[in-house]
């Protein structure tokens, strides 16, 4: 990976981000609904105060002017004030990020841990009964509406068995005295040597993470199976087998390592779609993440927040793709980008 190539890649970000900004802005501008009227609802207000509030929020200016102000400020990482929170949008978004990222990563890990063994098994026993079972089993996850599955899990584990909590990231009681080094609770609790708090955070994240990660299992399992089959037909594997190495040894020592490259790249790319798709799980489990906030913000026409958040998602998406490319080249030198 040469430096020019890297710069070229970063440069490709620009048209994507600009395009995303234009589309979001136009969409919000064409969407009916006045943030000030929504905010006031049925409380007392005079037309003068409505005008006043529109001025304070910058809504009195024409749309094209607002767009250029937004662009100019966005370049300097200033995304304006959130209408409702009355604080800088960047702050409001950053506060929600650790929860969203932690949930996404744990969900992806759960998916990988389930998908890889299933994929390997399916490939090794290709077209056998276990292969079919693994395929159908992994497909179960993509075949359910996530919120329904989440609520069913919640009923079973939180209400009937009363084993796991319903909502939130951690109980306040056990979280006291923990220094937030990273704001990722599973890491912070361990860094603080607080196993009780770690267990508590784990108990909170497990159901939402399973709900979010389950659909990913099918995709990753399929990728693992395919690439595993491909690798197993490669010359060096056949050669190793011919040399008399045991089949298991060949599979785990040689084939698996190479077969996992596509799985990991796909996982990296799909992490982006998990990150942008967790609003439903966040709602069901009262998880304080970004997705829920963005959806709420669309409904109440909190333009600055929606614009900034969508830009954030786009940056993450491009970065993850970039990362997956690098991963692919570094791990598999035969591929030239």
């Amino acid at each position: 990976m040469s430096l020019t190539r890297l710069l070229e890649r970063l440069f490709q970000l620009v048209p994507v981000l600009l395009g995303v900004s234009v589309i979001v802005f136009v969409m919000m501008a064409l969407t009916p609904g006045d943030p000030v009227q929504i905010m006031i609802g049925d409380q007392n207000v005079s037309p003068e105060q409505v005008e006043q509030m529109r001025r304070d929020l910058g809504l009195d200016r024409p749309v094209h002017e607002r767009f250029f102000v937004f662009l100019g400020n966005a370049v300097q990482f200033d995304f304006g004030q959130s209408f409702y929170h009355r604080r800088p949008v960047a702050d409001v978004i950053i506060e929600r990020l650790p929860a969203t990222i932690e949930l996404t990563v744990v969900a992806m890990l759960i998916a990988l841990v389930t998908a890889i063994p299933l994929g390997v098994l399916a490939a090794v026993k290709k077209n056998s009964f276990p292969d079919r079972i693994a395929t159908v089993g992994s497909l179960l996850g993509v075949s359910l509406p996530g919120f329904w599955f989440g609520i069913l899990l919640l009923m079973l584990f939180a209400v009937h068995l009363n084993l796991l909590p319903v909502a939130g990231r951690i109980n306040f009681g056990v979280s006291q005295g923990i220094t937030p080094y990273t704001h990722f609770l599973l890491i912070d609790t361990l860094l603080n040597g607080r196993l009780d708090a770690f267990r508590n955070a784990l108990a909170h994240i497990i159901l939402p993470a399973i709900t979010l990660g389950l659909p990913m299992t099918a995709i990753l399992m399929r990728v693992t199976r395919t690439s595993m089959l491909e690798v197993m037909r490669q010359d060096y594997v056949t050669f190793a087998e011919a040399k008399g190495l045991s089949r298991t040894r060949v599979i785990f020592r040689h084939a698996l390592k190479n077969a996992l490259i596509p799985t990991v790249s796909v996982a990296a790319i799909e992490t982006g779609s998990l990150l942008g798709g967790n609003m439903i799980v966040e709602t069901v489990f009262g998880w304080p993440g970004l997705g829920r906030l963005v959806v709420e913000s669309i409904f109440v026409r909190n333009y600055p927040l929606v614009q900034a958040a969508v830009l954030f998602y786009a940056v993450v998406y491009v970065m993850l793709n970039f990362f997956a490319d690098i991963l692919y080249t570094v791990l598999n030198p035969r591929v030239k980008l």
Binding site: I38, M39, G41, D42, N44, Q49, R86, R87, V284, P288
Partner: protein, 511 residues
């Protein structure tokens, strides 16, 4: 008493097990929504106010029966139709230990009412304070609120505003106020985990709150947590599993389950939100009174209240809640009578019925569908259109501009239970919430006069007359005022729900 008992018990447990620190008494509220901000002057949101109200106290407050009590004020008097005087209690402390003075009280009110008082911006709550012209300090413990015109609502509206620390606001600015509260309330903020929870602990130097609402002492529980759980089924699940002790917005269909579950109970209180169907009075069909009457007679409100709202709603024949000031208790009733509805339609020139739509938002889907089925049954063939709330506002709250729909199932809140807040916006010509497009100069004049009438009985009589007018003109079909339903743990005592939907936890205890 309860507290002493509990402390003894707790210490006994702690000694007995020799374990770690005693688990703090922790009351958790499963709440539908996070606060937007913790700055009492910079929002327009009821849930935000509910949370803030436990950190900040007001000059006045309400008890759960909606009676008004002095809180930070010791007493108040109306000096003249446009001047109110408040004697401020001495010795109240902010959470940082500093003493609260009349300066702070004046500063708090100015911050809300003076244009540009918040670093150039104006508080979005300004209009909740009506015609407040100025606030002056007239002694060491007295302030005076001057109005630009008579406004009998001032005491009813003051509980919605809270007192902040002047020194603190000047130190942290408006941006800082959003996350760093400094009030005189029964609880102080420990942590606000955005989107997740607002965590507060008991403020031990609390002055005790309103004299009229005993017990007057520091809060009962040591810690209070508002845990955000937006999904209603999850909120109920959290209550049933014992994770939380109070939940708001318990859906009517979950009442039986919560009531039958050992360890949880249902609490209800008369709400203040009136539901109605706005009919587009400017449209050809609904400009005819007989058609509007047909709609009213076609809806079996008792059936819907009984089957869908679980019996937890009061039928209304005018816009006001049965508990509101000036409610007319003798309004004629539009009985359910589909035959009558058909006859009225035929009389209006629609013997074959009419085809119309009814707009509403997601939460009203069930009732809208039930209403549509009843209307269709009486020849008013109705199609339900569910719209996003933000989209219905520009369509139906047009401030006088023509409306483009037929009917709109909607509601208007009336937290103060004073008719002014609900009657004027929904019925005065061209006002914000006048979705029916109703225009009646006679009613406008009556409402204007009632708004500034200082004689209570005369004012009540004016609203009774106004209700009789709209009951006859029928710009809306008035439906019901639902109760607010809460689920609570049986361990909870000292708390009851309040019609203004606030959850004040000062006196709440857990056994």
């Amino acid at each position: 008493m309860i507290r002493i008992h509990r402390i003894l018990l707790a210490s006994a447990v702690a000694l007995g097990t020799g374990g770690p620190a005693v688990q703090a008494q922790e009351l958790i509220v499963g709440f539908s929504r996070d606060a937007d901000t913790l700055d009492p002057a910079n929002h327009r949101n009821r849930e935000t106010e509910t949370i803030i109200r436990n950190l900040y106290d007001g000059i006045l407050t309400r008890d759960s029966e909606m009676n008004i009590h002095p809180e930070i004020a010791e007493s108040y008097t109306q000096v003249s139709p446009t001047v109110y005087e408040f004697k401020i209690r001495q010795g109240i402390r902010f959470h940082d230990g500093s003493e609260m003075t009349v300066e702070d009280v004046k500063f708090s009110l100015d911050r809300i009412t003076v244009e540009g008082a918040m670093e150039g911006q104006t508080s979005p709550r300004r209009d909740l304070m009506g015609p407040v012209a100025s606030v002056e300090i007239v002694g060491e413990d007295t302030i005076r609120v001057n109005l630009s015109e008579p406004w009998p609502l001032l005491p009813a509206m003051l509980p919605n505003q809270q007192v902040v620390s002047k020194a603190h606001v000047e130190a942290v600015g408006s941006d800082g106020m959003a996350t760093q509260p400094m009030g005189t309330g029964p609880f102080r903020l420990i942590d606000w985990r955005r989107g997740d929870s607002v965590i507060m602990e008991r403020f031990d130097d609390y002055y005790g709150g309103a004299d009229g609402i005993p017990p007057v002492e520091a809060a009962c529980v040591e810690r209070v947590i508002f845990q955000v759980i937006p999904e209603s089924a999850s909120r109920v699940a959290a209550l049933l599993s014992g994770d939380v002790h109070i939940i708001n917005e318990l859906p009517p269909h979950s009442i039986n389950q919560v009531a039958n579950n050992p360890g949880t109970e249902v609490m209800t209180v008369n709400g203040t939100r009136s539901f109605f169907i706005a009919m587009n009075n400017e449209s050809e069909i609904f400009s005819d009174l007989r058609v509007r009457q047909a709609v009213a007679h076609a809806i079996d409100r008792d059936l819907i209240i009984d089957r869908i709202l679980g019996g937890n709603a009061a039928r209304i024949e005018g816009i006001l809640s049965p508990d509101a000031f000036g409610k007319n208790q003798d309004l004629p009733v539009y009985e359910y009578d589909p035959e009558r509805a058909r006859a009225l339609l035929a009389e209006a020139g629609y013997p074959d019925g009419i085809d119309v739509t009814i707009d509403t938002d997601g939460p009203q889907r069930d009732t809208a569908e039930a209403i549509a089925a009843l209307l269709t049954n009486a020849g008013i063939r109705t199609q339900v259109v569910i719209g996003e709330g933000a989209m219905l506002t520009p369509k139906w709250r047009t401030e006088g501009a023509p409306k483009s729909g037929d009917m709109y199932l909607s509601s208007w809140g009336n937290g103060s239970l004073d008719p002014y807040d609900i009657f004027v916006p929904t019925h005065r010509s061209h006002d914000r919430g006048n979705s029916a497009g109703y225009a009646n100069p006679e009613l406008d004049a009556l409402l204007d006069a009632a708004g500034i009438e200082v004689d209570r009985e005369r004012r009540a009589e004016m609203y009774r007359e106004a209700e009789a007018i709209v009951n006859a003109d029928l710009p809306y079909v008035y439906l019901w005022v639902p109760q607010d339903i809460y689920g609570v743990s049986s361990r909870l005592s000292g708390w009851s729900p309040s019609p203004d939907s606030r959850i004040n936890l000062h006196d709440a205890c857990l056994d």
